[in-house]
Symmetry: C2
Subunit: 351 residues, 2 copies
């Protein structure tokens, strides 16, 4: 087959770009997914913020975004209940008594309560067997009132995370960690049923603050299954030019310094210093580490990957930790669960 020459190809795509045929906002709508469960749009408006100046970045208010999403979801759940006398259900599997896992599950359960999602937590002992946890997954897979299943990670090392996550019904995989969902996230022209919540939160934050993604240079530090990897895939799906930096990267600051959008997810406090950043960059800090803090009432505080005091002088927008992407991530879990229930009941706001 004869192809157009180099110049024509590149020029044609540029024209598409200039004409804004595809923008970050409408990208998902253009996808040819038969069931675009991720296409729910909670974005009633773009948050206005001060233009970039050389002195201080605008801090992204994750709680504000999360509350707005939760309010929309609460209305939707209320309408579902009135319309078909059903509510979305989330099943959580919690193994052991890790303090951080217990805290995360508590937060997720509270968020479910707030929007009217029914949640159940199956608690298994630290020394439970693979068969026991697989049975718990299977039970939730078959339970009609459960539309989303979440296995709280990390699992004790004697359990196969891979086998357990693969056992979750793809249509209830609201964490988006099933390889079918991850594969469809990666593949050009495909849409997963569910996208991992932290990655959706990253895009949501960018949308809410009017950050154009298409054609922008995005650098993701870290490639974890939960956050870094799916975020790089999702940014690429939104037509960013994505580079992934990891522990084997030499001079990572040379690469991050080119970024228009920088995402960090390695949970290494103060990894990203001011000189790693291009002036005006948008910084999404997804790291979360508990560090000692003698000024805090319990002697600890949560911190991100970015040296905030330095970054705020270089970036145009920045997410704080805590209060940045975290709350939006929780609201995305709720959103995925509501979408799963809507699909299961074949219900829409209009139905």
């Amino acid at each position: 087959m004869m192809k157009a020459g180099r110049g024509v190809y590149w020029r044609r795509r540029r024209l598409m770009c200039n004409k804004s045929l595809l923008t970050s906002q409408n990208l998902l709508l253009l996808k040819s997914s038969p069931r675009p469960l991720n296409c729910v749009d909670h974005r009633p408006h773009v948050i206005t913020h001060a233009p970039y100046n050389e002195y201080k970045a605008t801090e992204i208010d994750g709680k504000l975004i999360a509350n707005d999403i939760k309010a929309t979801l609460a209305t939707e759940v209320c309408n579902m209940r009135s319309s078909i006398q059903k509510v979305p259900g989330l099943g959580v599997i919690l193994v052991g008594k890790r303090e951080d896992s217990l805290s995360f599950v508590r937060i997720k359960k509270k968020a479910c309560d707030k929007v009217g999602i029914a949640s159940v937590v199956l608690e298994l002992p630290e020394d439970c067997t693979q068969v026991e946890i697989l049975n718990a997954v299977e039970m939730l897979n078959h339970k009609e009132s459960i539309h989303g299943i979440l296995v709280q990670l990390p699992l004790p090392s004697h359990l196969s995370e891979e086998k357990i996550l693969n056992a979750v019904n793809v249509e209830k995989d609201v964490d988006g960690f099933h390889p079918v969902n991850m594969g469809n996230l990666a593949m050009t022209g495909r849409e997963p049923l569910f996208t991992p919540c932290a990655s959706r939160a990253c895009i949501e934050v960018l949308h809410r603050y009017g950050v154009e993604i298409i054609g922008k240079k995005a650098v993701v530090i870290g490639r974890s299954m939960i956050t870094g990897l799916p975020t790089s895939l999702l940014l690429q799906k939104h037509h960013a030019t994505v580079s992934v930096v990891h522990a084997f990267t030499s001079n990572p600051e040379h690469i991050t310094h080119e970024a228009d959008i920088l995402v960090s997810d390695v949970s290494v406090p103060n990894l990203v210093r001011g000189h790693w950043l291009k002036p005006g960059v948008v910084v999404i800090d997804m790291g979360s580490t508990l560090v000692k803090d003698n000024n805090s009432s319990n002697g600890t505080r949560v911190t991100g990957d970015v040296c905030y005091d330095e970054a705020i002088l270089k970036a145009s927008l920045i997410t704080p930790v805590p209060g940045g992407v975290g709350p939006v991530t929780i609201s995305m879990l709720l959103s995925n669960t509501v979408e799963a229930a809507k699909h299961a009941y074949q219900w829409t706001e209009q139905s």
Copy 2:
């Protein structure tokens, strides 16, 4: 949980790197896959080539590599036949009479014959229905003598490529296009049963010519499901720092100029010019376009994406088109099929 500080984290990983605990050669062996079907190692030796000089790159001999792999596979198939009176089987589904598809299928069938793989081609008319092709897939899924299934792409536009490829049994998905295989390719710490052939060919060529991948900057131009996307994921799995350039990337030459390894897969002749390249770069040209050529007997010739005459003066190693990655890609299809059969029969050379 308390984490080590920035310096410690980065230093620890560097130490791992310096100690060569992980090298490109042994990376796959370290993976914890239950069934590492992709771990077959056809690499008896590294091809020696002249050191990089500023005048001319060494041309990678894809045919030489492919013949070596095919010889190894032929021996393996012969041993399988002697040992269990079985041979690997490849089922090909061909829809319509596209000249390029007919040609590709002919080449694949001939390659199968050469190593002793039994191949069958199911030919369906251009106007066949979705149900007819799904029935053909299902028939091959259940046929015991068929261990690999290949649906020749592209399909006519009235057929859903997604639904048809998803119907292929994951354990016979020798093209590696099933979302489960693609998801496991993408996910950190997972291994797909099969990796797309062109991507495996890229890594094979790099290994054969002794190109270290770990920690290197790799730039992939293009993000097609067949080649660009899985190649970027596979390079990342081998710990390269990967950037993906596509049609929405501004000034792609600024990014490609940083690459230690450049892969191009957009089938746009002469897209990659000399000034896009860093001196000493390794160039893997995966583009393939039929262009007019009055000097050729049939008036056409196949060309890649890279302006070869310019690139050969900048690169250290370069794949020609034709005769570069193409023949190795075919041999990777054979390799995947042999691995599928070995798994199906639970047979190894030692058994």
